[in-house]
């Protein structure tokens, strides 16, 4: 009889014994939520390479790349309940002149009222410490966005070519690569919305490249040779860009 009981329990063990902490057994997903990440420059849709943008120093530039990692994307229930995690890690990347400035995601979430969403800008420390080789080759943490051969990710990149003389040549490369555990920043966007009861809200997280480079009364001086390339160890040079990037996100609800 004891063995028979064990025999009956074995399927249960086999199906539950390997669950990770992150596995959700009963998500109660009832409503669809469309989430868009929109890239802008000065309030207009970001056109990679195609459009010439003005810069507060009087110069102009063409943006080649804008990307950032998002960690622990969560919905915040209006009743103060436990947050609903939508994504552990995501990479929002705009680098093609052929693409749309908006990156779309769709999630099934519990119906209810929400007061906003929250995410970490960058790769959260526990993932940032991991060897990329431990992930699948096509996983979002294997997108060749590494500082070194094994660890630490580049959290965000802005790359552009600037025209600093009025000669029609966008020949000054601007390359701002940012990221470190110290820079990892939690972003909370407050905006009420409801999921369910026939409502399929569309949320748009807006990030503006110009606001990251110039805002809050400060403009990053792209004309200074020492401020045209920020990679790896010289993060202090770009800490202003990072801080502005982290504080300029906006959430729109339709």
């Amino acid at each position: 009889m004891k063995n028979l009981l064990l025999f009956l329990l074995l399927p249960l063990l086999l199906t539950t014994g390997c669950l990770d902490d992150d596995d959700q057994l009963d998500p109660l997903r009832e409503g669809e939520l469309a989430l868009a990440y929109r890239a802008e420059y000065g309030g207009q849709p970001l056109d990679i390479q195609r459009k010439v943008y003005g810069y507060p120093t009087g110069d102009s530039l063409k943006v080649l790349l804008f990307q950032y990692y998002v960690s622990d994307l969560e919905l915040l229930p209006a009743d103060g309940g436990e947050s609903i995690r939508l994504e552990e890690i995501d990479l929002i990347r705009r680098r093609s002149a052929a693409g749309d400035p908006t990156v779309e995601r769709t999630y099934l979430v519990p119906a209810g009222d929400y007061r906003g969403l929250r995410f970490g800008l960058g790769v959260k420390p526990e993932l940032n410490a991991m060897n990329p080789s431990k992930f699948a080759a096509n996983y979002v943490l294997n997108e060749a966005e590494f500082w070194g051969p094994t660890t630490r990710y580049v959290f965000a990149k802005i790359e552009a070519n600037a025209m600093l003389e009025d000669d029609g040549r966008f020949d000054t490369g601007l390359s701002y690569h940012m990221g470190s555990d110290a820079l990892y920043t939690t972003v909370t966007l407050d905006r009420r919305f409801t999921v369910g009861s026939g409502r399929t809200p569309r949320l748009t997280v807006v990030a503006d490249v110009l606001k990251a480079l110039s805002g809050n009364g400060e403009t990053f001086d792209i004309t200074a040779p020492g401020k045209q390339t920020v990679h790896g160890g010289n993060q202090d040079v770009a800490v202003g860009i990072w801080n502005r990037l982290a504080t300029q996100f906006a959430l729109r609800v339709e």
Binding site: S96, A144, G148, E159, G173, Q228, G233
Partner: protein
């Protein structure tokens, strides 16, 4: 039922993460419709070295992808049937199985299975056609049998040929270069190699680090480890292009149809790069020294030139150090083992 506990080790094994090789890379993504088998790899290897794939049986894959040169050919541009020159340099194949983004210099093939189909019908490569090749393979005594072993059918078609070649290429794995051994703690860099490593990975960026003040060579933004490629397309400043239609070879743009991709080419992996001269998509640089000189110059103007390509200000010693580091990516065991296969095949043929 009396030894029910014997299942416990199995349960433990089932719940234990897969073992990881400390020197390994993210695992190869094997296509669901083309899992690798011993018979499939063996067939792919035979096909790779067999000139039967060309119109006049003079050119095999290995004619251009020579094992001793890390599967490149030492020529600026590949030479195909009847001595016809192609328009691109033959890339090496080291660790090509790990690549999961579009292949060829211009990304016209989405994966290895598709890539393998191109050369057969290209006039300046194998110069034939798939119906002819299938006819030749089907008319042999051995190939129908080998396809039966590999794929369960002796009805040969181009898809199965592509799959077999892809399976073989996924075995071209190099992970024992000096660079790998240094990472594993089994070897140490010379002072020149260490300097080159610091330049390659921009360690001079860190104002508080050991290499503070050192120039940054900006290599790893595109040549990202572990395979030293980001598998993406970049304009690295090879050609002056006052407008985007001025590139002598549109590269990626010819495939995507997007003029902003003109002049962009796939970032090649650098493993075994010291064995794959000459360099760039058109083989214009004969040596690694010329390559370093190019990047040190900042390249030529185009509005879509990578923002990470700019004048570097490297000293002669720093340039030499970069070359020394690039040589640490050479894996002689990889090259040697593949040469053995060629000798084995040659020996078998002479018996």
């Amino acid at each position: 039922m009396g030894r029910w506990w014997t299942i416990l080790p199995l349960l433990w094994l089932a719940c234990t993460p897969e073992p990881t090789d400390p020197a390994a890379f993210a695992a190869i993504l094997y296509p669901a419709d083309n899992p690798s088998t011993a018979a499939g790899v063996a067939l792919g290897e035979r096909l790779f070295f067999d000139p039967i794939l060309s119109a006049d049986s003079t050119i095999s894959c290995a004619s251009c992808h020579q094992p001793g040169r890390a599967f490149s050919d030492g020529l600026p541009l590949s030479i195909g049937i009847d001595g016809l020159a192609g328009n691109r340099n033959t890339p090496g194949l080291t660790n090509v199985g790990y690549y999961h983004l579009p292949l060829f210099w211009d990304g016209r093939a989405t994966n290895l299975e598709e890539q393998a189909l191109h050369p057969v019908g290209t006039a300046h490569e194998m110069g034939g056609s798939w119906p002819e090749v299938i006819g030749h393979l089907s008319g042999t005594e051995d190939y129908p049998h080998w396809f039966l072993e590999a794929f369960g059918t002796s009805d040969i078609d181009s898809t199965l040929v592509g799959r077999a070649l892809a399976q073989y290429q996924r075995t071209l794995v190099s992970r024992d270069s000096k660079y790998d051994r240094v990472l594993r703690g089994e070897a140490s860099y010379t002072s020149a190699e260490a300097l080159g490593h610091a330049l390659f990975f921009d360690l001079g960026d860190d104002p508080g680090g050991d290499h503070a003040g050192l120039p940054t060579a900006e290599c790893a933004h595109c040549h990202t480890p572990p395979h030293f490629t980001n598998q993406r397309f970049e304009n690295n400043g090879l050609d002056e292009a006052p407008d985007l239609d001025a590139f002598p070879d549109a590269g990626r743009g010819a495939v995507s149809g997007n003029p902003f991709d003109n002049g962009k080419f796939r970032t090649p992996g650098l493993r075994n790069v010291a064995l794959t001269a000459p360099y760039m998509h058109d083989g214009r640089f004969a040596t690694l020294e010329e390559v370093i000189d190019h990047y040190d110059s900042g390249g030529r103007y185009a509005e879509n030139r990578s923002a990470n390509v700019h004048a570097l200000g490297l000293s002669p010693g720093q340039k030499a150090a970069l070359v020394a580091f690039l040589h640490t990516l050479t894996d002689t065991s990889f090259v040697g083992s593949r040469q053995d296969f060629r000798r084995r095949r040659a020996g078998a043929g002479s018996e």
